[in-house]
């Protein structure tokens, strides 16, 4: 399914997820290969959140195939997914504002030095790495001890992405990274997503903003009412067609002509 023809990094086929009587996902198929950005588009309630939570190990699929590097997997917890190289950056749950950049960056994977009981958090190394990694994406945090709360929303997203990349993610799942950001902040995040792709990672970019998707995406999978409507490469569709697919078409077109422009 990957654009370059090789085995996709992760792939799901006919994935379904039921919560009691609610069918959240009903046959979703998609995949992402190395060095590409797959945009997952869908309106509210389309099943985007359920899908990424399944991919990131929070939910277990009710049925369907879930392949990592071509091998079927079953994740018991988000930790398993992380260990398999699938890192998820949640929109607002990625960072703890009161903690320093370094503490956030290494949260859950703190580097230590020394022997028990004198094993301590290696802050000199952690501060250096955090600073270097941030510099690499063009954010000069001169003081890695400053609280993440002092960073802008875009910078926080970038810290979260940088963290995932640093810890060896192969696939990066970004849950609406731009939805709460301003224009310049969005462009900062989108540039960084592109940078990550060039490094050879697979990126799944979840959004309901078609413009943002079109700016960085190589392929687009449209989700509607728990099903995939299809996957399109960048050349195949234009912005408007994507928008219509995502929103179920007609009503939006009607509204659009009523308002005299694209919604």
């Amino acid at each position: 399914m990957a654009s370059n023809g090789s085995t996709p990094l992760i792939e799901v086929k006919n994935l379904a997820k039921h919560f009691g009587s609610v069918i959240a996902l009903n046959g979703v198929s998609m995949g992402v290969g190395a060095g590409e950005v797959l945009c997952l588009l869908g309106d509210n309630g389309a099943g985007k959140s359920t899908l990424i939570k399944t991919l990131s190990g929070v939910h277990k699929p009710s049925s369907g195939e879930f392949l990592v590097d071509g091998q079927p997997v079953v994740f018991q917890s988000p930790r398993d997914a992380l260990d398999a190289g699938i890192a998820t950056v949640y929109q607002d749950l990625a960072m703890i504002p009161l903690m320093s950049i370094t503490r956030n960056f290494f949260m859950g994977r703190e580097p230590t030095r020394g022997f028990w009981p004198f094993k301590f958090f290696d802050f000199s190394m952690a501060d250096r790495v955090a600073r270097e990694e941030m510099l690499r994406i063009g954010i000069d945090v001169r003081d890695p001890e400053q609280a993440v709360g002092t960073l802008s929303g875009g910078e926080r997203q970038c810290v979260a992405i940088a963290r995932a990349v640093y810890f060896g993610a192969k696939v990066l799942i970004l849950d609406e990274p731009t939805s709460a950001l301003g224009v310049r902040q969005t462009s900062m995040v989108l540039k960084y997503v592109n940078l990550v792709r060039e490094k050879g990672l697979g990126v799944i970019f979840i959004t309901h903003n078609v413009r943002h998707a079109h700016a960085v995406g190589n392929r687009f999978t449209v989700l509607n009412r728990g099903q995939t409507l299809g996957t399109f490469t960048k050349g195949e569709v234009n912005l408007e067609e994507l928008q219509n697919l995502m929103a179920g078409g007609k009503e939006l077109q009607a509204l659009s002509s009523e308002l005299g422009g694209t919604v």
Binding site: A94, L98, G138, D140, G149, R184
Partner: protein, 372 residues
Amino acid sequence: MADASGALATGKRDERIKDISFGARLMRRPELGAIAGLVLITLAFLTMANSTMFTLSGVITFMSPAAQLGILAIGAALLMVGGEFDLSVGSMVAFAGLMFGACLTALHLPLWLAIILTFAFAAAFGALNGQLVLRTGLPSFIVTLAFLFIFRGLTLVGLKWATGGSTQMRGIREVVQGSPLLELFGGEAFTGLFEWLARIGLIDAFKNGQPKVTGLPVDILWFIGLAILATYILTRTRIGNWIFAAGGDATAARNSGVPVNRVKTALFVTTACCAALVAILTVLDTGSTDARRGFQKEFEAIIAAVIGGCLLTGGYGSVVGAFFGAIIFGMVLIGLTYTTVDQDWYLVFLGAMLLVAVLFNNFIRKRATGER
């Protein structure tokens, strides 16, 4: 620092980032409030109180209650940074005191076994508190409030049962006499050092050459030792980072692979064990235990932690702050007796201090995180 996309293009320093002054760096320390408060209170007592307050014996007199409260406050501070409260620590002091006393006087166990059993009981109840909070998802405020009453009630019932109707249990000093562990949990340390200091005239001595202060009460040593240990754990270890993360945002912490439930349970156990330690220290000191031990100490411990910069919402705070917060308490409680001021002003002070500390903390936090 609204955004750094300008810097993104060039990779150079953003011209809109200011240098951070030393003052601003200082403001970022959570314990600043407590230290400032301690300085203010010390200055106030230096001018108001009888000068004997700041002699060696005077300092030890106010450090002793500060130490007992401080040990609880250290546990409370760690737990608050971890995002939870424990309102049952005061009652736990009484309950652990009862268990300790009963092990010694009713079951005639040796001191070492009684101490181990007391800590084990306390740890088990701490874990119970933690598990109830984590599994039910109820606020720890409510769960531990329930245990505030349960432990206090159990203490009363247990004391009457163990002593045949009294709410006080005596005769503990007699049964532990001669135990080598007493050195660790009771009495005074460094007595030889103090004698020597008196002999060479560095500290006040009576006419016969005996020092006026014969040694450092062990509870003060425990207090200082625990403060150092807890500070090290909180600020310099991986577990410390987990505590901050669990308190700052449990979901984000979990998503990043932090074992939040284990961390929080361990913190509840730690708090309960701090209460057990205070119980053991005070019971061995007085030779008795009663139903009112540790009364309202949970509030004082939380207040000391808040004065020390802990946020009520968790994820931010310091053990050093709680350490100084507890000293402020001891100083005011005992210090008022060195002045002409009515002692009952203590409670007024306590409330006022809490209010000032919370307001100050909110201000500091906004400055620290650049919250807008």
